[in-house]
Symmetry: C2
Subunit: 108 residues, 2 copies
């Protein structure tokens, strides 16, 4: 994927779809929330929060990363996750742009 930097993200059609899908599952959304709550979050922390196997947690994180919503890197034997706030904001902006109706200039 692109958007590896920290600048403003422009979403491709594909990424837009991946994000929407990623956000659609309740458990995955919860995982995202926990990651957002902590600054950097390990899987073990997540396993304590939800009654799911580590395989499932791993899967959800992989999807979140694939969507670009989360950035993860290994910290020794742990995995550190962080929310890509700019990507999330790009998604909401694009969503409003596409489905927000004709009125362009919000704020009268």
């Amino acid at each position: 994927m692109k958007n590896t930097g920290a600048g403003r993200s422009t979403l491709t059609e594909k990424q837009f779809g991946l994000i929407a899908k990623a956000l659609a599952d309740p458990r995955r959304m919860q995982v995202l929330e926990v990651i957002a709550g902590e600054r950097a979050c390990a899987c073990t922390k997540l396993r304590e929060e939800f009654p799911v196997s580590k395989a499932t947690i791993s899967h959800h994180i992989k999807e979140l990363v694939r969507a670009g919503l989360v950035e993860a890197h290994r910290e020794g034997q742990f995995l550190s996750c962080e929310v890509r706030r700019d990507v999330l904001e790009a998604y909401t902006a694009e969503l409003l742009r596409r489905a927000g109706g004709k009125l362009k200039t919000s704020v009268a």
Copy 2:
């Protein structure tokens, strides 16, 4: 559902999930976009746009309505659809609030 008025919407957990699910399907997202493009949109119009059966269109609209993203009412033998922009905005706001990280800075 509530939020039948035009005021600011506060999403319940359930509605938040329904919206996320509704937005997750590409075709349904397209349907939403067309509805947003026209001021009021009939099903027939939608059938011309996409290669899907009317049953499928009907299904998607029902889901969009269930999520609260679209408001529909019969206009004689036609169905008129309109995007609930406030609900869409409530969703994006809630999404950012939940997954946007710790930085609050929420408009003093």
